[in-house]
Each structure stands twice: as C-alpha cells, then as structure tokens.
C-alpha cells in the first residue's frame, strides 16, 4: 500500500501523489512516514523533505522552510510556507 503524500504552500498545492515513504525533518528529529503511520502532528525545522517513490529508490529532495506536518489516516500532509524543489 502506498502512502498518500501532499505538499501544500500558501500559493498552491505542490504535490499530491502516492509514494512509498517520506522522511520529514521534524523539530525534534527526523522521522520517516510509511503507510499506516499513527496519527501524528509535528512542526518542521527548515531542511530537506526526502520523498522515496519506491522502496530502495533514490530519494527526491525538496527543501522546505516554515513547515508543519500532519499524519492522519488519509496520509501525510506537509504545510510549508516556502518550498524549493
């Protein structure tokens, strides 16, 4: 089962796709989110979000600033004020 990943900025919806895993740089440490993760909310420090499209694939790196992550049963939503792909 893939994980539904959404990356949203105030200007637009940057990403909305099914991926294998996302590693998010949380304020209190990085955490990886797979499908079926428990509901979770965290603020994000400025840094790189790593998106693994497939298991073992080379991660795609997206720089975010001023972010916030929410994991619910629907998937992972990252709200970021600035995004540099």
């Amino acid at each position: 089962m893939p994980l539904h990943f959404e990356l949203v900025t105030p200007a637009k919806l940057v990403r909305s796709e099914e991926v294998h895993m996302v590693v998010v740089p949380g304020t209190e440490g990085e955490f990886g989110v797979l499908e079926g993760h428990a509901p979770f909310m965290s603020t994000i420090r400025d840094g790189a979000v790593q998106v693994f499209a497939k298991e073992g694939a080379v991660p795609e790196i997206i720089q975010v600033r001023g972010g916030f992550a929410e994991v619910s049963e629907k998937g992972l939503t990252v709200l970021a004020e600035h995004v540099e792909a």
Binding site: V8, P10, K12, T43, E73, L79
Partner: protein
C-alpha cells in the same frame, strides 16, 4: 449651439477615451482570470491550516493558551486593517471598502473604544484621512510589487504581530473585499487578532501524537494563520480589483459609445442647418436680382 469644429473635437476626444476604457477592460479581463486562479490555488493551504487550528485550539484553552489566541485580556484599543487597492479605475470598490471601515470605526467609537487604522494599499488613504486625520497609523505599501504575494503578507503579518506584542492594540480587524463575481465584491470585516476560536472544533476521533507539545505547535501555528489570512485578503483584493475594473470599464465603454452617437447626430444636424441657411441665402440673393 457649439460650432461644427467644436463638436468634431468633442467626438474625437470621446472616441479616444473609449479606446482607453476598452483597452483597460480587456486587460482587466485577462488579469482577472489569473487572479482567480491564484485565489483558487491558495485555498487548500488555508483550509488545511484552519482544520489543524480548529482541532488544536479546542484542546489548548484557558491559561495555557498563547497570547495570540487568548488576547491581551483588554478590549480597549482596536486596530482596523483596511486592505484597499493601489490603482483606481475600478468603480465603487474602494469607496465601498472605506464605507465599511468607517461604519466599523463609528460602531467601535460609539462603544467607547479607541480606534486606529493600518492601511494596506494606496486608495483608502485619502478618504479615511479626511474623516479621521489623527487616527491613521502605520501602513504597508503594496504598489512597489506587481502582484503582492506571500512575502508581502508575511511582512504585514510580522509587523502586526510585533505591534500586538508591543501592546499597541488589543484587537485587530481585517477589512477586505471578498470576490463574489465580476459584478459583486463585498467588503468583509473579520477579526484577525486575537485569532477567533474556531466554532466548529471537531473532536479528534483518534489519539494524535504531538511533537513538540500542543501548546508549542499552536504557538508556532498562530502567526502562520495570521499570515495566511492576510495572504488570502491580498488574493481576494487582486481578484476583486480586476473584476470591479472590468465591470466599470465595460460600463464606461458603453457610455462613451452612447455619447458618441448623440454627438454625431448633433453634428450632422448642425451641418445640415448650415447648408440649408447657405442655400436660402443664395436663393434669396438670386431672386433679388
């Protein structure tokens, strides 16, 4: 009765006015589409953020609540943040906004509160200054950038939050146009600071882990919420401006067309009259011989 030459001059000047209004209308129509798309694209972020805010604000309340949510405890000094456009030629949009701002100011003053204005955009400054010369505080100039974006919203929000922290006001209201259609843009008054507690606080169905604590997350989210509100207001303003401008210019073009028609009829009549007079003179002269 104006002379033929004068009439011709007037017809030409109205014609060139019509060309200008027509051009402005077409430009506004093109820009409106872009502004509407931008407003549309900004919605997912705002909805998600307010959903998160709602679920958090329901949990963190009482003395633990951050100042931005709970307020200063007083309700005396009010700040009206009025978002006007930078350019004119958009019909009654700005005067409607100013009217709404004045009504709100009167209402607050009648309740014994002190009022100050914070102006975004150029067009509201003059009429508000005429009525309340001493109440115009700081402002933000958006005319230097082509399309105000999130950076501007951030700058405005940071300034407002700094003013709030310094105790310069207790409550801030945001007055901006909401874009309904090209024909209707309603001025809206919203409380901006302290952030109004969402009424539709949904009870979280599952246990959610927070990292760091709920209070800290909320503390960080509140300024962001204020920024998003301002960004939304700027987007709405952009769409409203272009919509109002399109409608106003469409009317102006049509009025100019009517005027040209009337003037042309008048021109033809006086030309005809002049010819007739000349003919009568010639005939009378010929008969006298």
């Amino acid at each position: 009765m104006p002379s033929l030459k004068e009439l011709k001059g007037r017809i030409n000047s109205v014609k060139s006015t019509q060309k200008i209004t027509k051009a402005k209308q077409m430009v506004a129509a093109a820009k409106l589409r872009r502004a509407q798309a931008a407003a549309e694209a900004g919605r997912p972020y705002a909805t998600r953020l307010s959903a998160v805010m709602a679920s958090l604000a329901g949990k963190v309340s009482g003395s633990a609540a951050p100042k931005l949510l709970a307020g200063t405890g007083a309700d005396q000094k009010h700040l009206l943040v009025v978002v006007n456009t930078d350019k004119g030629l958009c019909g009654g949009l700005n005067s409607n906004l100013v009217k709404a701002a004045k009504a709100k100011a009167r209402e607050l003053q009648a309740a014994g509160k002190s009022v100050e204005f914070y102006l975004v955009g150029k067009k509201g400054r003059a009429p508000l200054k005429r009525e309340y010369p001493s109440l115009i505080g700081a402002g933000f100039d958006t005319s230097t950038v082509k399309t105000p974006g999130f950076t501007e919203a951030e700058a405005i929000a940071d300034e407002l939050i700094a003013m709030f922290d310094a105790g310069q006001f207790d409550v801030a209201h945001l007055i901006y146009p909401t874009f309904k259609s090209a024909l209707a843009q309603d001025p809206t008054v919203n409380q901006l600071i302290p952030v109004p507690t969402p009424t539709n606080a949904v009870e979280a169905e599952s246990v959610v882990d927070y990292e760091p604590s709920e209070e800290e997350i909320l503390e960080e989210l509140l300024p962001r919420y204020v920024r998003t509100q301002l960004f939304g207001a700027l987007l709405e303003r952009e769409a409203s401006e272009q919509g109002a401008s399109m409608t106003a210019m469409d009317n102006a073009t049509r009025n100019a067309g009517d005027l040209i028609q009337k003037l042309t009829i008048q021109y033809n009549r006086s030309r005809q009259a002049a010819i007739t007079t000349e003919l009568i003179e010639i005939i009378a002269g010929a008969e006298a011989l």
